[in-house]
Structure formats: C-alpha cells, structure tokens
C-alpha cells in the first residue's frame, strides 16, 4: 500500500463524518460535492479511471443541482404558506 493510497483513504474517511454532521442541507450540498471529488481522486489512485469519471460527473453536476432545486421548491412552498396566513 503506497502512501498516496493511505492518504486518499484517510481524506475520504475524514470526509464522511464531515458530510453527515453538517445539518443544513444547503451547506451539505457543497460538502457532498467536495466529498464526491475526494472519492473520485481515490478511484483514480485505485487505478479505476472509468469509475472516477462517472463519480466526478455525477457528484459535482447531477446530485448537488437536484438537492438545491428540491430545497428551492421547499423554501418557496414555505413562503407561499406564510403569505396565506
């Protein structure tokens, strides 16, 4: 096991509690993007370029966008309900 692999594993292992313990979903969307990039780096170091390509493209583009759009809808719905009252 090279030092690079151990380092990448430690970074990913430290990133997981970071994503979980951030309670605000808006901040968590960015954290999950960073966590996904760290995971992609780990996949490169494990000699898996296909999986890394997949992980980069999904966790930096697709997933944070859907999270933020869902949160936007929820907040907009809350404001609508408050306007009614």
């Amino acid at each position: 096991m090279t030092a690079l692999q151990i380092g990448a594993l430690i970074v990913v292992g430290a990133g997981a509690p970071l994503v979980v313990l951030v309670r605000d979903p808006v901040r968590q969307a960015f954290c999950v993007g960073v966590f996904g990039t760290a995971l992609a780096l780990l996949f490169f170091i494990f000699q898996a370029p296909d999986v890394a390509l997949s992980q980069i493209v999904v966790s930096t583009v697709a997933l944070p966008l859907m999270i933020l759009l869902a949160l936007a809808k929820i907040r907009e719905h809350e404001e609508e309900e408050e306007e009614r009252e």
Binding site: M1, V19, F35, D50, V51, V58, I74
Partner: protein, 114 residues
C-alpha cells in the same frame, strides 16, 4: 495494513447509517444515504485491486501488462449513475411530503395523519 481500505469502508458505512437514523431533515437523510453508498464503492474497488496492476485499459500499454480487476469496476461504474437517479426519486418524495404535510422533519411525520 492490508485490511485498511475495508476498515475505511466500514467506517464510512457506520457514519452514513448514523446520519440516516439521527436526521432531522429528509433532504439531509437522502444525502447521508449517498454517503452510505460510497462505502460500497470503496469496498468493491478495494477487493479488486492488485499490487502493481495498471488500469484495465489496453489502449496504450503492452498486452502482457498486469491490470487490476475490471469486473468490480464495471459494477461500481453503473452503480454510481443509477444511485443518483434513485436519490432523485427520494428527493421528489421529500418535496411532495412537504407539500402535503408542511414539514420534512422525520420525527414529526409519523404523528400527522390524513
């Protein structure tokens, strides 16, 4: 040291499960589910790695070079994309739950009826 990647996978799995159980927000819960899925990718790729192996692409290396296992990479690759769409389905359910019940706190949801 030869079990270190598997221990990291177990560590990530336990943190993801803790996030799901203790979550106060359905969107936060979906993201913690994604963290749990990351543990399976680390485990899969850790199983297939071979010391001194190259990436399983023979486009520019000699045909006799040792490569790491391509089967687990194929599994992980498709998994990453498909789990993103399943997370999207869960987010859609969270949005509709908020419309219907006015809250996305799992602790309050089971006490609201009708």
């Amino acid at each position: 040291m030869t079990v270190f990647p598997f221990l990291v996978a177990i560590w990530i799995l336990c943190w993801g499960l803790y996030g799901i159980v203790s979550s106060r927000n359905l969107v936060h819960l979906v993201i913690c589910l994604g963290v749990t899925q990351a543990a399976t990718y680390v485990l899969l790729l850790g199983v297939g790695y071979r010391n001194g192996g190259a990436a399983p692409i023979y486009a520019d290396i000699a045909e006799s070079t040792m490569v790491v296992d391509p089967v687990v990479q194929a599994l992980a690759l498709v998994d990453v994309v498909v789990e993103a769409t399943v997370s999207a389905l869960l987010l859609a359910v969270a949005v509709q739950t908020h419309k219907r019940f006015g809250t996305i706190d799992p602790d309050e949801l089971h006490s609201l009826r009708g």
